[in-house]
Symmetry: D2
Subunit: 348 residues, 4 copies
């Protein structure tokens, strides 16, 4: 079988370079175009010395050229860019896997309100598939355009969707408290708040009650619940490089033990190659997921308060971004879903 030629726009951002790392050793992929505005003309292994022996020249991303040289394009770019790039790539018959939020929200008005930009391609929004295979695998199979979930939604949705779908928890009153590593802020976010002496030994919440990932979570949970779901969502930064730990609180719809709740998760994720539900004896930690596409889960019944408390751990650049993107690629091209994603992360 011929290899899939893949172009990456934004190859030197943290999400982009993680995709490059994964794709470089994907047995059915040939990296054919590495786009980077910032480092154009430089060699990739100069910018990222951990990568060696790859197609090295970084070029300004040019969609027509990318369409010529690639079968699939990873758009690892910021909000507002994908909606301009995607149409030409799709018209050229290419598949697009988008890291930006441009095609995640089905309600264009909500997108425009949260991202403060007019949508340039509202007509593509409906077609785009929200690229979380555990929720939308079937739609992804034939998709031309996958909108890879935000890192926080990935962790939150994987934690609570099965309990919500099974009606084990109520759809109102959900609280999502997430703790993220700093790479989630990206490489271009260099600023005083992420200056090592400031952030090391510190942590904080940010964008309390109005983070951009909230409507994305609500959209997907509403679809799962079959009615409008409103959540409280608070993201926090902690001094680790990779990883999101999410703690979800939801009211139990009926009495249930921790074991019963775990069974629901386990049943929901049976056969899922990257989901692992822990039993009573352990709780998820982010570090064992680092560098991988795995999501580790556990759930506890808080009997006094009548709540389920679900914990999920992912690598925000793995299952939270580039890993899921590669998983989408595999599905969209009919490859085994785990291809190129089997390698474990690094520990310790």
């Amino acid at each position: 079988m011929e290899k899939i030629r893949v172009a990456v726009a934004g190859a030197t951002g943290y999400g982009g370079v993680e995709a490059v790392r994964l794709l470089a050793h994907h047995p059915q992929v040939e990296l054919s175009f590495l786009g980077s505005e910032t480092y154009q003309g430089q060699r990739l292994d100069e910018v990222y010395p951990h990568l060696q022996g790859l197609p090295n020249r970084l070029e300004p991303f040019e969609p027509d050229e990318a369409a010529r040289r690639a079968d699939a394009i990873f758009l690892a770019v910021h909000a507002g860019h994908s909606m301009k790039l995607a149409p030409r790539l799709l018209e050229a018959g290419k598949k697009v896997i988008d890291f930006s939020p441009d095609f995640r929200l089905k309600d264009v008005k909500v997108y425009e309100q949260y991202y403060k930009v007019s949508h340039a391609s509202p007509g593509l929004v409906e077609e785009a598939v929200y690229g979380l295979p555990e929720l939308h695998r079937e739609e992804l199979r034939g998709a031309r355009l996958a909108a890879v979930p935000g890192c926080y939604p990935a962790g939150a949705l994987l934690a609570i969707a099965p309990l919500l779908r099974s009606r084990a928890v109520k759809s109102d009153g959900i609280v999502i408290d997430s703790k993220s590593g700093v790479s989630g802020a990206g490489r271009t976010s260099v600023s005083l708040e992420y200056h090592f002496p400031e952030l090391n030994e510190d942590m904080w919440a940010y964008q309390v009650a109005n983070h951009r990932h909230r409507p994305e979570i609500e959209q997907e949970l509403s679809a799962v619940a079959g009615k409008e779901v409103v959540v409280s969502f608070t993201p926090h930064v902690v001094p680790v490089t990779r990883g999101i730990l999410t703690t979800v609180y939801a009211h139990l719809a009926r009495e249930a033990s921790s074991q019963e709740l775990a069974s629901i998760l386990r049943d929901a994720y049976e056969g899922e190659p990257f989901l692992r539900v822990f039993d009573e004896s352990r709780l998820p930690r982010v570090k064992p997921t680092s560098g991988s596409n795995f999501c580790h889960l556990a759930v506890r019944a808080d009997e006094r308060a009548g709540r389920a408390i679900v914990l999920s751990a992912i690598d925000n650049l793995g299952k939270g971004l580039a890993g899921t993107a590669v998983q989408c690629l595999n599905i969209m091209f009919g490859l085994p879903e785990t291809m190129g994603l089997e390698h474990p992360g690094i520990y310790p």
Copy 2:
């Protein structure tokens, strides 16, 4: 005025040595007895080279001897020890400031259930004052025995008590999500999970839904609310040495803006020397509280979800333990409340 002679039992634990650090430069305190089982016979500055020029010899803590040489005794010991030491110290007419949980819970049965030990001094439980000055200042003035709050309850109570007391939030449905530095686990907790290569770059939740600090939080919030309060409480470990960031979610009893909620906090803490309520422009971070007795607070209205989200940042060894203990000492001995606690923490 003559100095208060203070003995510290458990002076080489993290809580004890932080108390020693503060007391050593307290203008009205003379450190007269440093108790340590582990390091008896050694010099304090050998065990802790950051401390110099202090009464150096570490001795096994002996209550009668401590009573002879001290006016006040800090019991920086584990659960189950204070309840045996406190009676003799009180009988000798001394004041006791207890870091252990032994006298925090008014319901001895709850204590015994959570701490798996029979209470040896149930008769003292009622007399003991829960040592959070912001909630119990008047009772502390005449107190013989102060039970310094647990580090998580300190951060959580300071965050939510004013909103609950003012009926701005409902008493049911409160969720408390706390993120703690590792020093909270103590110095004697050396184990694989806190081994640097394991914990660095990791984070996790633990004792989900059944942490020992939950009943303490519920006891105090119930007193504030005037009715039984049940909370969901999840503690997390993050790779910082000091600091607890607490995120509290509570249902608004009526519509309220972030500013209105902040006003309630600000009014409640007017005149409090160690509480600082931030306005709209900033959110608390733990590092600026490090080494200090300060608590930084902010609140946001989550209008879509009808919730208040309150954030508090403290140093778990400062306002979360030794700082509050010194504040209790000052109150119990009629000293200015800030004495010995004015020095700022260290930043960056």
Copy 3:
């Protein structure tokens, strides 16, 4: 071609589990025996949740059984153990790749002096090949027993051997200053000094002037120089998990620019798959080598002082241990030297 069956003794130590991680995806290796005293009977993915889908049962390491089930045995054990296990494995016709120091030092007396133990297999010492391919590739080809270098010697030897061999620097007056991540201390080294709140934000030197890796460095440098080399060597611990940065100071034998010195390194390592010599524009950092078998190098002429200053960065568990071990395996079995080692590390 049939796969090489590999057994790992000490599979749950940090060195062992890194070997397992690499071997698990080595195309010509079948992991056939995972030995662990501490965790025998448990599943590997319970002890190390980052590893999935591997031969999961951990067994007590039994050499006869290992010899039956494996073609090669990785002995990821402490000093004093390999010298007892290796003879039986070699007698059974197996190849042994030893992580311990037991067969590194050709002078048994020096070994016994530094490791405080009588050598149980002095007869094998001469046969054992010091397993640094860049110095001993040819001998490794036919070897039955490879003694993988210590992590510090790996970094130090790769830095200075070419300059010494080429006589660009003098053989006396060499100073080696190494900074190591904490994983080098191992997983069983849990103790107060590596307790997160103690080590985080700290660093220190240890075993100044008498570290066990010093004779190993001197043995190999003496062989390179053709005369006895004595070095000053100081190891330091810094709060990172992986990585050794080594700074080597050597007197220039004749005037030489940084470029000339770099050329010597570059010529020496031409064709070496894992060695990368930086030019004037950059210096090595440990993080880009993390999880890989790469060594990054740079050299500067200190003209005022008449010295060469060479910097090397490796992952102490990669090129400093398990990576080099796999490279030895490849050489000993006639496989392409990079097999199973091509995957880059993770960054950031």
Copy 4:
């Protein structure tokens, strides 16, 4: 006694704010002017929430105004600024304590070569006293202008000066290898290399063989040795916020044991309030010096190599900058040298 009014230019840099923290609780100091270009008009506790209740308004630093309102001026500014500000302040009869390198180097040509700027006040260079009290206490007593040492020279000089002065080590062949926390780079150094996801878990050397602190070290060691001293000096960055660990290698002039070498250090520093020489049983760590003005030292004889290896640990913002500056102030104004510096750092 009337308080000394002190102005701080550059009060919001890391060095400046550490000086403010120390001066704010100095019993004989009144902070009378806080200069900050970046944050002028803001309150200090908004920029640095760890500081409370201080003269809060930040103003652009204006030397005439500062001269009117202050008796002493701390110039916590970058190279090239102090040489323009100092003359007017000195003419106004004020004492100047300079954090910049402008007056450290007695050879103006060397200064200009290393700092790439013409010296605007070469006439003041001779008068300026190199502000390391342990080397220049007597000259500081009457000084108008103290040039506080660079952070690396402070740690290096305190380590090796006594052995050099006593002729226990030779003056040639000295190697200085320093490992620094990131705060040494300053607050305005925000850039990709100090971005948390880049630096965390990494370390590197920089400005190998040509760092600006090298001539400063050589100048002072030459004065101590009575002849020209040339050193090799390599600074490294490690992921801690505060602290410099320096390892100095020097050839023994005659055989000497570790104890004998330690005695020389101990004798040299007898009576020094901030120097502590460890015995055989321990080695310096940076964390116990954090936030303090202490320097911890140890020395080992490397008998095989004929070297002394000296280790020193300081807080780069404490003894390495602001602490020493306050010590200079005390000496210059005839106050007890430890005033305002007695408080220990924070640990853990």
